[in-house]
């Protein structure tokens, strides 16, 4: 819900890094920015020293050691060099190649566990009711019973099996969450890429509009949008998705801004590339890392937001179960069946935990710094 704003809407790398601090006017110091100084040499050195630890590979070295080094990095930049003057990677630090990241993830047993659980949940919610005799709408006279062998999580006010309803409730949660994250990602990345690459007044206007959107907590925003559009599955996706568009736009834009001045982007222009070519082939693949991380984290928060909206009575129509709605009803029967609301909550926690940890592992594999600054540097 709302406070979840904290993580997904502020979290990923350097969203503020490339931007001037409040009150600080961007000072055009061209040589500082683009020109080589003797000092940069020194910056480059420690970086090379730290090669085995910073997740860079060298002459086909196998990546077993990498994970360790990168774990350390996630612990707060431990992977940075030990020696003199070794500061962090430059703001525009570039993603490691995708191939290496996938290999790292494929060897990560936490990724196996998290992905496994999520796949299990998704498959269970869609497939299990088809193959086994599980009907979330089947009513019985045994209402509001506690957990038992036949009803693991007890029954609801219509005597329906809560375990089945929790399982099937995963459908709406996952659909809405991934739909919203996808919507936000596509819209946000396009806005961020164009705004960051071309800058100018359009960029300023777009960022101002997004600031206003960002000012509203996502539950509030979703409430308003649904109040306007009406309650339907697709509208729910849009309503939640819109709240996350600014985050994706900011993450993308920050990455693009940092990359714009990177030599390999300048080199692409120097080779006579057109802007769309540079954006699609050179810039986009290199900002993808934080975006992917943001996608996973956004999905996690969107699960919570969709449950919050369900709790407020906005969600799938009644016979279809949703975790939020179950918790809302549970509040009315606290005295009759205290366990009623516990089960959907646990399902929710497990799902969010999996997504969140998955996001963390992807972030580690990509070497994206978890920026403490968050939105701090905006405007």
């Amino acid at each position: 819900m709302s406070a979840a704003a904290g993580d997904a809407r502020q979290s990923v790398s350097g969203s503020g890094a490339a931007e001037p601090r409040p009150g600080e006017k961007p000072q055009p110091r061209p040589e500082e920015r683009s020109g080589p100084r003797p000092g940069e040499k020194s910056q480059a050195r420690p970086g090379e020293k730290s090669e085995p630890r910073s997740g860079e590979r060298y002459e086909g070295k196998v990546s077993v050691g990498m994970a360790v080094g990168q774990e350390a990095r996630a612990e707060g930049a431990a992977g940075r060099e030990v020696s003199s003057g070794a500061s962090a990677a430059p703001p525009g630090a570039v993603e490691p190649p995708v191939r290496g990241v996938l290999a790292t993830l494929a060897h990560d047993r936490w990724v196996h566990v998290m992905l496994g659980l999520l796949v299990l949940l998704a498959a269970g919610s869609y497939v299990l009711p088809l193959v086994a005799d599980l009907d979330y709408a089947r009513q019985s006279s045994a209402v509001l019973q506690g957990p038992s062998a036949s009803h693991w999580f007890g029954t609801d006010e219509f005597g329906r099996d809560n375990a089945v309803r929790v399982l099937v409730g995963a459908r709406s949660s996952l659909q809405v969450a991934f739909g919203a994250a996808l919507f936000a990602m596509v819209a946000g990345v396009v806005i961020g890429l164009v705004a960051g690459y071309f800058r100018g007044p359009a960029d300023a206007v777009a960022m101002r509009v997004l600031d206003v959107l960002l000012a509203l907590p996502e539950v509030v925003l979703a409430l308003v949008i649904i109040a306007v559009l009406g309650n339907s599955g697709l509208n729910l996706v849009i309503a939640i998705g819109v709240a996350f568009v600014p985050v994706f736009a900011r993450v993308t834009r920050a990455g693009v801004l940092a990359l714009r001045e990177q030599d390999f982007v300048v080199a692409s222009r120097a080779m006579g590339a057109r802007s769309p070519d540079t954006m699609a082939r050179t810039v986009l693949p290199n900002v993808l890392g934080p975006i992917v991380v943001q996608f996973v984290i956004t999905a996690a928060v969107a699960v919570v937001v969709s449950a919050a909206l369900g709790f407020l009575g906005l969600g799938p129509e009644p016979p279809t179960p949703s975790w939020g709605a179950m918790m809302q009803t549970a509040k009315s029967y606290l005295y009759q069946n205290p366990w009623y609301g516990v089960a959907p909550g646990i399902a929710l926690i497990v799902t969010v935990l999996c997504l969140d940890r998955l996001g963390a592992r992807v972030r580690i594999a990509l070497g994206v710094e978890h920026s403490g600054a968050g939105r701090g540097g905006r405007r």
Binding site: P28, P52, R53, E75, F264, N286
Partner: protein, 749 residues
């Protein structure tokens, strides 16, 4: 030894070359080992390092990146960042006590009081939210709790004054961001000497600054050491800096000391093949050679080191012998004892003592003979000057005809300017402008190399970008190959950009990390159109051969290659469309010296083979001298001197050029020992607000009132070769004579 007398600055210190019987070392590191990570994945960054520092001396520790020189001291002082799981073993004895075995509170009493550090990056080494004076005062009060706050502050101001910070009273109340890089480093030095430490450890103290500031800082360091009587450990990758400062040196490679001994003996007569190679591969300002002698291969990475000698894979002397790979050579004393002794770690030291087998480069041989006849090591060694003059005679035919008019221009730049507007306030009103490039004119002819040198902030890189219109010039024109670049349509511009090419400073940053290096090289071909896939593949393979990369590297990612290999890839990419002009923006600055030489040789070969013209932008004068036919010296957005290579370096006429040349440290002991005095004071002025008239006026030792009235034009004076922008250049009638001559006297190579 007479060397000492040539270095009056260090006069107060006891002679370090006394040989046996000298006092006990102040700080000695014994068999220090540092490993990062644990278990099977442990990476040994330092693999058994021992060295010691004696009272009053300066020990220079040299090595390339990855040699472990910095990690060694950080580990010795317990300053390795805690989050890194590092295992440190060995002993670090200070006045007989082992720092590593001490309790933390005990060690804290030594740190800052007896042993103090000067760090590489001074700006980040200072706490950004604490006033400079308070940071120094904290250092004092930590070790002398009795000192009052006010007294500590007053002492801080005195210290700042001592290290040459102007207006120390005001500056002490400022924050680090209000200091320039050079001033920050002075503050850090003031901080370090606050408690009159017995050992001062400076870790690459001048790497982050320009040469003119470097010269000032080294002088400050010398003063600081002299005033406090501290022994100094100077860690640097720069042979010139070490040659200038150190009494004894310690050469590190692959986490070990490979050679150690008194400076003149080690640099004059290197025993270890690595030391020898390192000295041979650096381009020398005073002693240009037609071709550098690079060390083949790449610097080692700690986790790829085997059991044997770390240098074995690159060693010219090994000639395939197995023992080098299988067995670690110990550091053995070859000559002399104790402090004066030379020790080296090579299996074949004895062999190398046979004169016939040594392949000393002429420079090293010359200086070796010079130092052997110790008496000659005074201000102008006849041997050294003989060598340099004969060399310049050799290289002058190549430079013949340069600097003369004539021949169609490949690139013609006229009155090029670039301003970056400064905006402020609510409406972004324009309140001023950073004038990065101010009316620059330059011609590059087919097949020639024009060097563009200057300190950071002088606009040289901006110029490089303006030429390809990667940034829009504010005014002026650029004509390339008969066609106007400024004012070309977007389509024409893309077409033009394909006929010139650019190589950037950091190859790690200039290659698209998501593409294989082969694909990176193929990018310009793809963008140009008209190249089928097989044609591209064939061309890329051809380019790989040309720049000396193996074809099996084609599918690698840039991150899988080393720095030197990456720069080769970047060069291959630049050559893909057979350009006539390649703009090089500091192409070797990010590389280790041993690799630098390889790339410079490659550039020379390619130029000869393909008839390329280069515009070579660099801050490194020695490199520029090595590669250029003509040289333009920039200061604050303007060219102040433009002349043939030898004219600029042998007979500099602009006071700035002269000062710049004097600022460069030299790895040749005699030259270095002449006691380079910082020829320029202060930092370069801000391009936001350059001085009226001649921009160099504010730092020029010869400036007269008239200099402020008018901007000096770049023009020929008195029919001498080259063009100078100085009101005083023609005054003495002979340019280099007269006033400026006084300055250049010390620079007579």
């Amino acid at each position: 030894m007479s060397l000492r007398s040539a270095v009056p600055v260090l006069g107060g210190a006891p002679d370090p070359c006394d040989g046996p019987g000298s006092p006990a070392p102040l700080l000695s590191i014994e068999d220090l080992r540092v490993a990062f990570g644990g278990g099977d994945q442990a990476v040994a960054a330092v693999r058994g390092v021992s060295y010691e520092v004696y009272p009053g001396e300066t020990l220079g520790v040299v090595g390339e990146s990855g040699s472990g020189k910095s990690v060694t001291v950080m580990a010795a002082l317990g300053l390795l960042t805690t989050a890194t799981a590092a295992t440190v073993t060995g002993r670090v004895l200070f006045e007989g006590q082992d720092l590593l075995a001490m309790s933390a509170p005990q060690r804290r009493r030594v740190l800052g009081r007896d042993i103090a550090m000067v760090f590489q990056d001074p700006v980040s080494a200072l706490n950004p939210v604490q006033r400079i004076g308070d940071q120094i005062a904290e250092m004092i009060r930590l070790h002398e709790p009795g000192v009052s706050r006010g007294d500590a502050r007053r002492r801080a101001v005195a210290l700042l004054e001592m290290v040459g910070v102007p207006h120390p009273g005001v500056r002490a109340r400022q924050y680090p961001h209000e200091f320039s890089g050079g001033m920050c480093q002075r503050a850090v030095i003031a901080l370090a000497i606050a408690n009159r430490p017995k050992v001062l450890i400076a870790d690459e103290p001048t790497t982050a600054v320009d040469v003119s500031v470097q010269a000032q800082l080294l002088e400050v360091l010398r003063t600081a050491a002299r005033e406090t009587g501290a022994a100094t450990v100077l860690i640097s990758h720069d042979m010139g800096v070490v040659a200038e400062m150190a009494d004894r040196v310690c050469v590190m490679y692959g986490g070990r000391v490979v050679e150690t001994g008194p400076l003149a003996r080690v640099f004059g007569h290197p025993r270890h093949p690595y030391t020898e190679g390192l000295l041979a591969c650096i381009p020398r300002l005073g002693d240009p050679v037609a071709r550098l002698t690079p060390i083949p291969g790449q610097p080692p990475t700690p986790y790829l080191l085997g059991k044997g000698c770390a240098f074995a894979p690159r060693c010219a002397h090994r000639s395939g012998r197995e023992v080098c790979l299988g067995e670690r050579p110990e550091l053995v004393v070859v000559d002399g004892e104790g402090r004066g002794g030379v020790a080296a770690a090579c299996h074949f030291l004895a062999e190398r003592e046979v004169p016939g087998l040594r392949q000393a480069p002429p420079a090293a041989a010359a200086s070796a003979s010079a130092s052997a006849s110790a008496a000659s090591a005074v201000v102008s060694s006849p041997a050294a000057s003989a060598v340099s003059s004969s060399d310049s005679a050799v290289s002058s035919p190549a430079a013949g005809g340069e600097g003369r008019e004539g021949g169609g221009a490949l690139l013609e730049v006229r009155e090029l300017s670039k301003e970056y507007p400064m905006r402020s306030g609510l409406l972004g009103r324009r309140t001023g402008a950073v004038r990065a490039v101010r009316g620059l004119s330059l011609v590059v002819r087919p097949g020639e190399t024009v060097g563009l040198v200057g300190e950071s902030g002088c606009g040289k890189s901006t110029t490089a970008r303006l030429l390809m219109r990667l940034e829009e010039p504010t005014s002026g024109s650029v004509v390339f190959d008969g066609e106007e670049v400024t004012g070309a349509s977007a389509g024409r511009l893309r077409e033009l950009r394909r006929r010139m090419a650019m190589v950037f400073q950091d190859p790690k940053a200039s290659l698209n990390p998501q593409l294989s290096v082969g694909a990176n090289v193929a990018e310009p071909l793809r963008l140009a159109g008209g190249w089928s896939r097989p044609a591209r593949r064939e061309r890329v393979a051809e380019l790989f051969d040309q720049v000396g990369l193996a074809r099996h590297h084609l599918e690698r990612r840039p991150s899988e290659l080393s720095g030197g290999q990456r720069q080769r890839v970047a060069i291959a990419r630049a050559l893909a469309l057979r350009p006539k002009l390649v703009i090089m923006d500091e192409p070797v600055s990010a590389l280790d010296v041993s690799v630098q030489a390889q790339v410079l040789n490659l550039l020379a070969d390619l130029k000869a083979e393909l008839g390329l013209a280069y515009l070579f932008v660099s801050h490194d004068l020695s490199v520029v001298r090595h590669v250029s036919d003509r040289v333009a010296v920039m200061y604050l957005g303007r060219i102040v001197e433009l002349a043939g290579r030898d004219d600029i370096f042998e007979r500099p006429r602009h006071p700035y050029t002269q000062a710049l040349l004097r600022s460069v440290p030299s790895a040749e002991v005699e030259v270095a020992r002449r006691g380079r005095r910082a020829p320029l004071q202060g930092d370069p002025p801000s391009p936001l607000n350059p001085p009226e008239g001649c921009s160099f006026r504010s730092r020029c030792p010869l400036a007269e009132e008239a200099c402020g009235r008018e901007v000096p034009l770049l023009r020929v004076h008195d029919g001498l070769p080259g063009e100078v922008a100085c009101h005083l250049a023609g005054a003495g009638g002979t340019g280099a004579a007269g006033g400026p001559a006084a300055l250049s006297a010390g620079a007579g190579w």
